[in-house]
Structures are given as structure tokens and as C-alpha cells.
């Protein structure tokens, strides 16, 4: 039963991809859209069925093997898919959010001339993400990993006619590749040390005592795997591609660059939590990088005027939070934040999408304003997302973010500094998100001339569903502290559900400090939100004064720390230079000279032999006779013996 379910789950996106792929020239959005969404919907239904199957399964695990993929010597990897608590949640998120986004993009892409192609890419992305998530061994995951990278490239560069969009696609792909190289090296290290790559066996074979120092095999492997994760989930060194990835259509950004793909790195670490636990140093690295990314990205987010850029940087910073959580050993809260973030970030992206769609592809916030009255549904759903992300109590964001901050503070792997980074990040997030809200919704009308109206049901329905989810998702994982206070002590559903397979540290700090921290984070968020509201609605001039005072700092942050330029200068130009040198003196002079030498030699000995082939039969006959005479002579006179 499971096998058929799983195969339907995996195959429907592929079929969708093929059908749309074949008729990629058709202009009819209705047909292409319905096929794509239908495929996503079917796989969503299957994942729900699978979820209940896993729930019912004795050890909460469903392992289905389709065929032997590689078995050479000791390495034998099968196309074997594992559905356990973590991956069941993930497929739910992927297929659920995916279906909503497919629905949304039917409305969004209605003027596009290649809808079938778009939907086939989306379906293909779904398939790859499912493979990545359901893989029971690292190589199979890597297949999904690559497939997802490919789809992101295809979708970012969807309007490849525009040069810069194509360049953005290329950039995303190359940075991902760098990350993938790290992933590969990590895989090889693991295989070299443990001889196997399947998650189950790896987790069991982990030594109990954590390794000390940096040279340990598991540490190195985890480090490399982390590099892979940074590439995919856009952390400090390799995050440059995500802001540029906004060049793609907004639903794509929503699906890929908010909800699913970017979370792959975190999913991988959570999946291999026992392995990472063995390498505390790597955990510390992860945490610090996560924290730093959160703060820096948030800072940049403050200065951005393009609505999608702001959301992109907020994604990067939220991912930084997740890595912070995972780095401090809070795997479950990290995963919980991943889930909630998927909902509200997707919501916000779709919201931005519907705004852009309504504003006829206008993305600059300064030109927007006062959309509250014109687009009420988008406004209200966006409002839910905003409240969730800054962490207002009843909303999802509050529960997951505070859990992370609490564990950053309390967990043995965490430290006060990490908590401080987290807090600063949270403050900045609150600030720029409210800035966005003011500029877009609350400010006064700047474009009265243009008729802006609410987008259609296909776009607003997903917004409403996601709005509801980002509001209620928080109650899935209520921390103990709060549940103790609340009547009826609602259990931490997600915590218990994930507890079977994911490592979780039992923290027993005092409840009071937890409450204190919670209160502290809420106040900070609220204060920064009011500050932003004050700056952008009441007195616009304060912001300008503030920027003049910190001119250089503001410029630096606005220019995204000149990271792109840095890369350009430090990596790309020297690389081109070296290759030029290689080309000019080595290739031209040395290699060509040898080939000339060889050819001249061939010609000369050719001339030499030409005399043999002069067509005169008698010379041929003579050589034959000579040959036979000499051999006969050699044989007959027994010189051989």
C-alpha cells in the first residue's frame, strides 16, 4: 500500500512535468495551470495519507525500496525512500504550500507567453524536493539536492530573454554548485570513514562521545556538509545569490526561495542531527554563522526599497535564525521555525506578488502606498504575516522564535552572545517589516492616477489559507513553559511527534528566566515596530536625518556590504587572469609547438615510405619475395632455435 502511495506521490509531479513539458509552446494558461496544480494537489493528498500511515506505523517509519541504483563493491545505494516523522512533516509543507503557490501562479502568470513551460518546471521542482526530502541515503538526497538547484536556475532565469535575469539564474546555480561541492566532499568523508551513506545506519554508527578538536573525521565531514547547506540555504559566504534570485517570478520566489528549497540545508542537518551532535565545534560554527547572517541580512533589509529584496533579506536572516537554532542543538525548535517561516514567508511573498501584479510589475515601495483600502484581503493577510514574523504572541512566529532564543540562551552549546545576536536580529526584523507595512499599506496614496484593484480569487484564496496557517501554526509546538500556564496543558504536538527521531537536549533552566526572556523579546519587537511606525508615518524627516549622521555606514549597508563587488574583485578577476596566462603562454607556445613538431615528423616519414608505394608492381613483388625469402631462410636454417 505504502509503495503505491509513495510512487503516486513521486510520479504525479513527473507526469505533470512531462505533459506540460511536451506542450510547452501552448499559450493556454488554464490548461497548463490546472495540470500543474492538479499534480501538486494529488501529491498533497498522497502525503496526507502517508502522514497518517506513518502515524499508524509501529516505529513511525515507512521504508520503500523501488530499485537498486548503484551497487559497486561495498557501496550499494538503492532508490529507497524513508517516510518518518521529519520527512512526513516536510512533504506536507512542500506539497501543501506547493499546491497553494501553483494555484496562485495561475492568476499571477496569466499574461505570460510560456505558462506550460513554467508549470512543468514547477512540477519538476516539486518532484526533486520530494526526492530530496524522502531520500533514505545521502546520495539520493544529493540527487534531489541537484535537481532542486537545477529547477531554481531554470525558474529564476525563466524570462531568460532579459540578460540580467539570466545572469541571476547563472549566479544562483554557480553558488549552489560551490555548496554542492562541499556537500559531496562531506559525503565522501562519511563514506570513507563509515562505509555507508544511509541515514539510518549513519545515525546508529555514530560514536557516543563527541569528537574534540577540528581534525576528527566526523567534524570535517559535518563541516563540509554545512558548507553544502550554506550554499543551498544562503548563509554568510554563499548567500549572495538569494537577493538576485528575486529576478524570477514571485510565486517562484515564494515557493523556492522562501518555503522549500532554502530550508533543504536545515532539513539535512536536522535529518543528520545525531551526526552533527558528535561534532560540537561544527555546531558552534553553525550557530555563529547563523547568528551573524541573521543580523547582517536584517541590517541590509533596513535599507532596501524593492519589496522583494526586503523579503529576500528577511528570508536570509530568518534562515540565519534556523541555523542559530540548529547550531545550539535546538533541532526541534529549528524545524518548528522552518515550518512557521514557510507559512508566513510564503504568505508575504504571495502578498507581494499580488501587489506587484496589481501594480503592473511595480516593485519599488516608494511608489506604493496606502494600499490598505484598495487591496483589503491582501492587506489583512499580509497583516497576519507581519504579526507572525515580528513574533507577536498569538501568532506562529512568536512561539518558534522565542523557543530558539530561549535555547540559544540556555542550551549548553549556546551562549549569551548568540542570544544577543538573535535579539538584535529580531529587533531589526520587526523594524524593517513594519517599515514595509507603513510604506506599502499605511502611507498616503502616492499614485492616485493608477487604478489598483484587488487581485482575483485564485490569488487571494492561497493568501487566506496561508494567513490562517501562519496564525494558528504556532499552537502546534507550544513550549512547556507556556503550556504549563495555559488551561488544559496542551501538549507540544510537534515536539512529541519529532521527538522519536530527532535529538533533543532536555534543558532545565528556570521557568522564570524563560518568561523573562519571552517578555524581553516581545517588548523589543513591539518597541522597534512602534519606532518604525513613528519614523515612516509620522515624521518622514527623522529617517533622513538618521541616514545623514551615519552616512558611510548607511551607504555600506545599502550597497549590501559591497559583497558582490568583493567577490568580483577577489575571486573572479584573478581566476580569469590565471586562465588567460594559462592560455597564452602554455597552450599557444608550448602545446602547439609540440603538435607542429609531431606533424612535421609524420610528413617526413610519410615521404620516406612513399617510395614503397610508387605503384610499380614489380617493386611490390620484389618486397614480397624478399620478405618471404628472409623468413624462409630464418626458419629453414633454424637460426631461431
Amino acid at each position: 500500500m505504502e509503495k503505491t502511495l509513495l510512487s503516486i506521490l513521486l510520479l504525479t509531479p513527473v507526469i505533470g512535468f512531462l505533459i506540460n513539458g511536451i506542450r510547452f509552446r501552448s499559450k493556454n494558461i488554464k490548461v497548463a495551470g490546472s495540470i500543474g496544480t492538479g499534480a501538486a494537489l494529488i501529491s498533497f493528498i498522497c502525503s496526507v495519507a502517508l502522514f497518517f500511515k506513518v502515524k499508524a506505523a509501529p516505529d513511525h517509519m515507512v521504508l520503500v525500496k523501488f530499485f537498486d541504483w548503484i551497487n559497486i563493491g561495498s557501496l550499494n545505494i538503492a532508490a529507497e525512500f524513508l517516510v518518518d516523522p521529519i520527512s512526513s512533516i516536510m512533504i506536507l509543507i512542500i506539497t501543501g504550500v506547493g499546491t497553494l503557490i501553483h494555484l496562485f501562479s495561475i492568476g499571477y502568470m496569466d499574461h505570460d507567453e510560456r505558462p506550460a513551460k513554467y508549470f512543468s518546471y514547477l512540477n519538476f521542482f516539486l518532484f526533486n524536493m520530494l526526492v530530496l526530502v524522502l531520500a533514505s541515503s545521502l546520495p539520493l538526497m544529493f540527487v534531489g539536492w541537484e535537481g532542486v538547484g537545477l529547477c531554481s536556475y531554470l525558474l529564476i532565469g525563466f524570462w531568460f530573454t532579459d540578460k540580467e535575469k539570466a545572469a541571476a539564474g547563472m549566479k544562483a546555480f554557480i553558488t549552489n554548485r560551490i555548496g554542492d561541492a562541499g556537500f559531496l566532499l562531506g559525503m565522501f568523508m562519511l563514506f570513507y570513514t563509515f562505509g555507508t551513506l544511509s541515514f539510518g545506519e549513519l545515525n546508529e554508527m555514530m560514536p557516543a562521545i563527541p569528537e574534540i578538536g577540528w581534525a576528527g573525521p566526523v567534524t570535517l565531514a559535518c563541516l563540509f556538509l554545512f558548507i553544502g547547506a550554506t550554499g543551498k540555504s544562503a548563509q554568510i559566504p554563499l548567500y549572495v545569490w538569494l537577493p538576485d534570485a528575486m529576478a524570477g517570478p514571485t510565486p517562484v520566489s515564494a515557493l523556492i526561495h522562501a518555503a522549500t528549497m532554502v530550508t533543504a540545508g536545515i532539513y539535512m542537518i536536522v535529518r543528520m542531527s545525531p551526526v552533527f551532535m558528535v561534532a560540537p565545534n561544527v555546531m558552534m560554527v553553525i550557530a555563529t554563522i547563523g547568528g551573524l547572517t541573521a543580523v547582517l541580512a536584517a541590517a541590509v533589509g533596513l535599507t532596501q526599497w524593492d519589496i522583494k529584496k526586503v523579503l529576500a533579506y528577511s528570508t536570509v536572516s530568518q534562515l540565519g535564525y534556523m541555523f542559530l537554532a540548529v547550531g545550539t542543538g535546538a533541532f526541534i525548535p529549528g524545524f518548528f521555525h522552518l515550518m512557521t517561516h514557510a507559512f508566513f514567508k510564503a504568505l508575504m511573498f504571495l502578498g507581494a506578488g499580488s501587489i506587484i501584479h496589481a501594480m503592473h510589475h511595480e516593485q519599488d515601495m516608494r511608489k506604493m502606498g496606502g494600499l490598505k483600502k484598495k487591496m483589503p484581503i491582501t492587506y489583512w493577510t499580509f497583516m497576519f504575516g507581519w504579526l507572525a514574523i515580528i513574533g507577536m504572541p498569538p501568532f506562529a512566529g512568536f512561539f518558534s522564535k522565542d523557543e530558539i532564543l530561549w535555547l540559544a540562551w540556555a542550551s549548553p552549546l549556546g551562549s549569551k552572545w548568540l542570544w544577543a545576536l538573535g535579539m538584535i536580529g529580531a529587533a531589526m526584523t520587526a523594524f524593517y517589516m513594519t517599515r514595509l507595512m507603513c510604506l506599502v499599506f499605511w502611507g498616503e496614496e502616492t499614485r492616485s492616477d493608477h487604478k489598483v484593484k484587488e487581485s482575483g480569487l485564485t490569488m487571494t484564496f492561497p493568501l487566506m489559507v496561508l494567513g490562517f496557517l501562519s496564525a494558528t501554526a504556532g499552537f502546534l509546538g507550544i513550549p512547556h513553559v507556556i503550556s504549563a500556564v495555559l488551561p488544559g496543558h496542551p501538549p507540544n504536538i510537534l515536539g512529541d511527534w519529532l521527538g522519536h527521531t530527532v535529538v533533543h537536549l532536555d534543558i532545565h533552566g528556570s521557568a522564570i528566566t524563560e518568561w523573562l526572556l519571552m517578555g524581553w523579546s516581545v517588548t523589543v519587537a513591539g518597541a522597534s515596530a512602534l519606532l518604525a511606525y513613528y519614523c515612516y508615518i509620522k515624521k518622514i524627516t527623522f529617517v533622513d536625518k538618521f541616514t545623514e549622521q551615519f552616512k558611510p555606514l548607511h551607504q555600506l549597508v545599502e550597497k549590501k556590504y559591497l559583497v558582490d563587488e568583493l567577490y568580483q574583485a577577489k575571486i573572479i578577476t584573478p581566476l580569469i587572469g590565471v586562465s588567460k596566462i594559462l592560455w597564452s603562454d602554455i597552450d599557444v607556445s608550448f602545446v602547439d609547438k609540440c603538435t607542429h613538431l609531431l606533424s612535421r615528423f609524420a610528413v617526413s616519414c610519410g615521404k620516406g615510405f612513399r617510395s614503397f608505394q610508387n605503384g610499380n608492381m614489380q617493386t611490390y613483388a620484389f618486397y614480397m619475395l624478399l620478405g618471404s625469402a628472409v623468413t624462409l631462410f630464418y626458419i629453414m636454417t633454424g637460426m631461431g632455435k
Binding site: N616, Q618, L625, L632, F633, M636, T637
Partner: protein
């Protein structure tokens, strides 16, 4: 197989074949070759193969050489150009040496195989035995040769009937 006859016949044969190779006028060499064939026929008589000898007379001496002579007469070549040997003399000498080497290579060890010499003389020739073996054991070769001859006939006629040139078709 008295030695005198054999030696005389072989000496004559060697002389004739040398003449065939060496004399300038191709017609003379053709006639010497005919004589060499006849001499060879006599050797075959010696080796108790009268039928083969007769066939040799009929086929080689009687038909092939006649054809050679006829063709030579047809061409009626003017024997004015210089040496009848091709290529420069140095290579010719070298060719002669290589032919000599071949000859010496084989004959050097020939007379050292003592035991083979003891073979007795063969029995009297009997045509019936020859006929039966030909038509039972070598039947395939026999039919194949029939075909070969047909092919050669067609080929030769086709070859020699090219249009133009001094010969009418």
C-alpha cells in the same frame, strides 16, 4: 627413374627457363618457355604421371604458349628500345640475390632430411583411380573450376572488347 634421364631433363629445363628470362626478344622467350613446358611434360612422364604430362602438353605447350605467341605476334613490337630489364641495374642485381636467397634458403636444409629420401618409387599410373578420386573426393573443386573457367571466359571477352583503340570490337 634413372638418374641420367632425370639429370639431363632437369638441366635442359633449367637452361630453357633461364633463356626464357634472359633473352631480349619476347617471342624467343615464349618459344623457349614452350620447350621448357614440353621438357617438363617429359619429367612428368618420368614421375609416372602420363595423364598429367599429356594434359601439360595439351594445355600449356599446346594452348597457353600458342596464345602467348599469337598475342606477341599481334603486338608485333618494335624491338628497338634499350635493355629489356626494368629499373636500374643495382636493384636488379639485388633482386637476383634475393631470388638466390630464396632458393638457397629452401635447398640448404633439403638434403639433410635423410629419412624422407628412402621413399620408394610410386606405383604404376592408373587412370581409373585418378578418375574416381577426382570425381568423389575433389568433386567440389571440379565444379568450382568449371565455374571459374566460365567466369574467366566472360572476363577475358569483356576485357578485350573495350571500345576504341586500334582493335575493333
Amino acid at each position: 627413374m634413372s638418374p641420367t634421364i632425370f639429370y639431363s631433363l632437369s638441366i635442359v629445363l633449367v637452361v630453357f627457363s633461364l633463356l626464357v628470362v634472359l633473352c631480349k626478344n619476347p617471342l624467343h622467350s615464349a618459344l623457349f618457355l614452350a620447350l621448357a613446358m614440353i621438357d617438363l611434360a617429359f619429367i612428368f612422364f618420368e614421375l609416372k604421371a602420363p595423364f598429367i604430362a599429356a594434359v601439360q602438353l595439351m594445355v600449356y605447350a599446346g594452348a597457353v604458349m600458342v596464345m602467348f605467341v599469337m598475342v606477341l605476334m599481334l603486338f608485333d613490337l618494335k624491338e628497338d628500345e634499350e635493355s629489356a630489364f626494368s629499373g636500374n641495374p643495382v636493384i636488379n642485381v639485388f633482386k637476383f640475390l634475393s631470388a638466390g636467397l630464396l632458393c638457397w634458403a629452401i635447398s640448404s636444409k633439403l638434403f639433410s632430411y635423410g629419412d624422407v629420401a628412402g621413399l620408394g618409387a610410386g606405383k604404376e599410373f592408373d587412370i581409373k583411380a585418378l578418375g574416381t578420386t577426382l570425381y568423389t573426393k575433389y568433386i567440389f573443386a571440379f565444379e568450382a573450376l568449371g565455374l571459374l573457367l566460365l567466369l574467366i571466359a566472360v572476363g577475358a571477352v569483356a576485357l578485350s572488347r573495350t571500345k576504341g583503340g586500334t582493335h575493333d570490337s
